[in-house]
Subunit: 435 residues, 2 copies
């Protein structure tokens, strides 16, 4: 094997990082792989901007066909993001027998099965370590290091922007909107941060992890998703007083041979390792039936961490090319005929503990009314605190429930929010404390 | 491929765990691997004790030749520990074309190159994920997920017994010897805990990680090793007051194109994630030049976590067998001709910060004498505290240095310990706070 030849589609931040690693660590990577990796072509619509890396003449092209139709190119790295354009490029490339490395979580979470079938038919490999948690090799850990385990649960902090905002709210106080503005200025949030703060980016990533852990081909749409934009400083503060931190958590869990999958702000005990994951860092906590509790921590985004994952995939597939094999490990860990569509537990049937914050008029008997309604729906109260935080005759009541069914909670809150004393919609945050 | 056939040598704790996983997760593993794994033979000197797993007749044998000479066996799992007997079994097995899975850190740390050469010649694979940090897939992470990175440093808590004792001393107080006794009773320490508490077990593991990170074939003997048995409650307590925790740390670091490798008790900042790794847990903090700071956390020992790693190796090699290949990834990550013996920085040349505790007669001018000697050796003082802990006219002086050279510190302490006011040998603990 003289060399591995690759083409890169998408010369943005991560693409630039990949080029930097392949150059700066060139000797090191060759010493490990045993073969040089050559970048034959880089395709982007913008071939003029300076990305701070010098490129030889002719390396850049605006035409993706220059890569797809080049028979000397073994492997295509797709880093343009978005779903439809990326999908058609990858399907075309697979038809030409190219192996694929992609960090495109939205595409994998929505069209994973289609890509898997195409790759299977074409006998090519698809690497996607960069699609979840940036530089943390969590896909590899699930497909290889933990592959003998039945995965009891996955709890992930998978979005750096959301975690940065929540960490800042926790450490320094302040409202979501103000900190989001600051995060934008500092480059920790995109100009349109919706995907990050409303949870959908986390959902895409959870969908991928769920596929590997449980062998499902479900698209991401059945995952319950709730973002962090409604979290108030008072919730952060009160969670802290109760011994919790609030994190945007991706949760997948096998329970009574059903799988739960949900993304929402979550109270986790302040002494759990996940609570210490601050700023833009990501972490994935996994409990396997042999390995027990484990955690993987690192930078979930950014040029070099994401590129680290992409380069690991390039090297992984190169090792297959050198060995003359492909499809050594199935795309989603399970053999194709053992992948299945599974029924995800509806959020209404989930059972967990809840943090509830009621904003009510400060009238005698209000707590009795609230607890009466909860009791009627068989929701038992773990603890309740009414704090002297009154504005205009309004008071906040903080309540933690014991384990309860989401459907019951929702019914109870529907009733409570219609009480004449109710001033605002009740804040509900789920708790994970059996971890 | 109809099935993968394995033989297990060593029916102890981990061997029993491997059998349990291969049985309890049988369907799951087959769905992932695509092929059943059959245990053909289990060899142990003791074939009578009940290990809580039912075995069919004829599965047990006292004779290792029953495995080595069985041509139907593809892969041998070595779990007897120790160096010489294991070495000769593995070399014999490799000669018979068997692939190897082993968790034998002492063997790999002392005879890694010999095994590598034998495996290379025999065209077989050796898996050793179980040799470091139990269930944490750190070997896989270094060889695959982080393989595009130059590894700046590895900081590992790699011994559960030592970490249990230090955690207990930190959380509940108490002397090393008392807690060690308690740990023995609770099964967290072996009856002869020397390897664990004096650091050598950690050194074996660091030697393996160092080989993979830096492509070295050094045996473990050049790694500076210091255990935890001399740590006093007063050091734990004072470290805490200064904002540190004491951990037995394995440190490998590339610095000015030299490699440092050392094992010793270490002060680390209390807010660093490694400080939160308590009890019998292990963790490895890695800084790579692309991925940045990362951490891998989990159970470092015990039946099922160690077996989780061993089973992941069995599956990994099975995937190679099914694909008809071997040696897809070099044993120590680097291609054979790029492995080298490297010069490890002598401990005398290491530069770091130091915690020093002087036990001296409470006389006027004693601090001036000590700081004078430190100054003479160009060691500058970061902070110093003399606390009112007097017994029989003796006082403790706690001192943190700025960055200093170990040789200078040793010379200074040699002088200080010979002062007439010196009551005890000065306690020296190294600090890692640039992490």
């Amino acid at each position: 094997m003289k060399k591995i030849t690759i083409g890169i589609v998408g010369f943005g931040t991560v693409g630039t990082g990949v080029i930097k690693i392949l150059r700066n660590n060139k000797a090191l990577i060759e010493n490990r792989l045993g073969t040089p990796i050559e970048i034959k072509k880089i395709v982007d619509l913008d071939i003029k901007s300076d990305r701070g890396v010098r490129l030889r003449k002719g390396l850049l092209s605006k035409n993706v066909k220059d890569i797809i139709n080049d028979p000397s190119i073994d492997l295509i790295v797709e880093l343009i993001g978005g779903v439809q354009a990326a999908r058609s490029i990858l399907l075309d490339a697979i038809k030409q027998g190219k192996h694929i490395v992609t960090a495109n979580k939205a595409l994998l979470a929505s069209h994973g099965l289609e890509l898997l079938n195409a790759a299977h038919k074409g006998g090519v490999d698809i690497g996607f370590e960069g699609s979840v948690a940036g530089g943390i090799p969590i896909i590899g850990a699930l497909k290889e290091g933990l592959t003998g385990n039945r995965i009891s649960c996955i709890l992930g902090i998978l979005n750096g922007t959301a975690n940065y905002i929540l960490s800042k709210m926790t450490d320094e106080g302040g409202k979501f909107s103000a900190i989001l503005q600051e995060a934008k200025k500092q480059g920790y949030a995109e100009s349109d941060p919706t995907l990050d703060v409303e949870g959908l980016d986390t959902t895409h990533k959870l969908s991928i992890l769920r596929s590997i852990a449980y062998g499902t081909v479900n698209s991401f749409e059945d995952i319950y998703t709730e973002g962090i934009s409604h979290i108030e400083p008072i919730d952060i503060e009160f969670a802290r007083e109760l011994g919790y931190r609030i994190k945007l958590l991706a949760i997948a869990r096998e329970i009574d041979s059903q799988v739960e999958a949900r993304v929402h702000p979550t109270l986790i005990p302040h002494d759990h390792l996940l609570s210490k994951v601050d700023g833009t860092y990501n972490a994935i906590f996994i409990d396997g039936n042999a390995v027990g509790p484990s955690m993987f921590y690192g930078k979930g985004a950014g040029m070099m961490p994401a590129a680290s994952a992409v380069v690991s995939d390039i090297i992984d597939i190169s090792r297959n090319i050198i060995s003359g094999i492909s499809q050594r490990i199935p795309l989603f860990s399970y053999q194709k005929d053992h992948l299945k569509k599974i029924a995800i537990k509806n959020i209404q049937e989930v059972e967990t503990r809840y943090y509830l914050r009621f904003t009510v008029f400060d009238r005698p008997g209000v707590l009795s009314k609230i607890s009466g309604i909860l009791g009627k729906h068989k929701i038992s109260i773990h603890s309740v605190i009414q704090k002297g935080r009154r504005t205009k005759g309004t008071v906040s009541i903080f309540l933690l429930t014991h384990q309860a069914r989401e459907a019951s909670i929702r019914k109870a809150l529907h009733e409570i929010d219609r009480l004449s004393v109710a001033q605002e919609k009740t804040m509900l945050i789920r708790i994970e404390d059996q971890i």
